[in-house]
Each structure stands twice: as C-alpha cells, then as structure tokens.
Symmetry: C2
Subunit: 121 residues, 2 copies
C-alpha cells in the first residue's frame, strides 16, 4: 500500500483509531490519555502502534514535552479524504437543499479564480 490516500483510508478502517481521532477532535491529549478508554481491551504498545498508523496516515501529529507525547489532529489526512469524496458528492448528497447550497459555493469559488486548484487523482 504505497500511496498516501490508501494509507489514510486504511488508518480509518479501525474503530479504535477512529475513537482516538474523535478524542483528539476535542483537543490535544497524551498517549496515556488516549489509551485510557482502551486499556481494558488492549495493551499500551497496541495503542502506540495505532498512533503510529494514524501518524503515517497524516491524521495525527505527535510532539515531545518531557516524558509526554502530546498528540493532536492533523487536518492534512482528513483533507485528502474530503477532497477524494468530492467527486462522489452527487451520489451521497441526497438532500436537494444542501446540494443546491453546495453548487452555489462552487460557482462562487470559480468567480474568485479557483484558489483551491489541485489534482485529486
């Protein structure tokens, strides 16, 4: 699995990792904070591994502060997924209201000169 997007989807294909991400969506947390809800079910090294998967997927960044490793959400990975999803919006966006609202933003963006131009493969 060489490509980044596959790695990101793969990282999200696990309920433990998604729960860790949900935790981080509420703010920074150390490894042991993230681990706490799962220590009944799995060991700390398992958590370390999950975190590494999230890091490689571009979904989490980890820094150092004494013996702690504060982690936070990295929007890059999420952005990649969101960008990929766009090409399928017409399929999953069943509400006419919201699709219409979305199409307006597309028009608005075009008028402004395509700030976010980028190939999504």
């Amino acid at each position: 699995m060489p490509d980044q997007l596959s790695q990101t989807f793969s990282a999200l294909a696990d309920p433990t990792r998604r729960a860790m991400l949900a935790h981080l969506s509420k703010g920074e947390a150390n490894v042991s904070d993230l681990a706490k809800p799962f220590l009944k079910d799995m060991s700390l090294p398992a958590i370390t591994k999950h975190l590494k998967v999230l890091e490689k997927a571009g979904l989490v960044t980890k820094s150092r502060e004494a013996q702690w490793r504060p982690c936070k959400i990295n929007s890059e990975g999420l952005k990649d997924v969101a960008d990929w999803m766009e090409q399928y919006r017409m399929f999953w966006e069943e509400s006419f209201d919201r699709l219409e609202a979305y199409l307006k933003t597309v028009v608005a963006k075009e008028k402004k000169g395509r700030k976010n131009a980028k190939k999504t493969k």
Copy 2:
C-alpha cells in the same frame, strides 16, 4: 472488523477498488468492463474479489442479466463515510468562504426541523 464503517473505509483503502468505483461513477458496467484496465496487472478472479469487498462495504451493487453482472455505485457506503466526515469538517475545511456557506446550510436545516437526524457514532 465487524462494523460496517470499518469495512467501508477498508474497501476504499485500495487504489484498484477506488479506480473501479471511479469507473462506476461514470455509469453501470459489467465485471469484464471493470476488469479491462487491470488485466495486465492481475487476474479476473482478483477483480471478482475486489468487487465482493466493495459490495460488502455497501459501495457497489451487482445484478444479473444473462451471463453478465451489471454493477453500479451504491450511495449508502459513500453516505456513511460522508456522515462520519461531517464531525471533522471544521478541521479539513480551511476555506473560510466555504465553511461559512456550509454553516448557513446547517442553520437552514435546523429551521426546517432536522430532516437528517441520525447518530453516526
């Protein structure tokens, strides 16, 4: 991997399967049509397996027509992913314009009485 969302993410974590989905986003196709671009790289049974993964993930449906199996995109799986993504929109939506536009649709929806109320876990 018991839960549906994990299965869906897992199905998307493969470039061959994403390419097949992209193909189907242009319209229905038989298994051999979907297979054609990949037959240099892998066998037909491999394609059958990939398709089965996409089906179980709720991303594709397959029907029967004589000896052919016309496949088409199933929006359910994509919808599940999109719904899950919503909780992270504030992270990946960096353009203020589009975030603002989105927030307007939220307000509009609230006024209408929350048509799309659903737990996404």
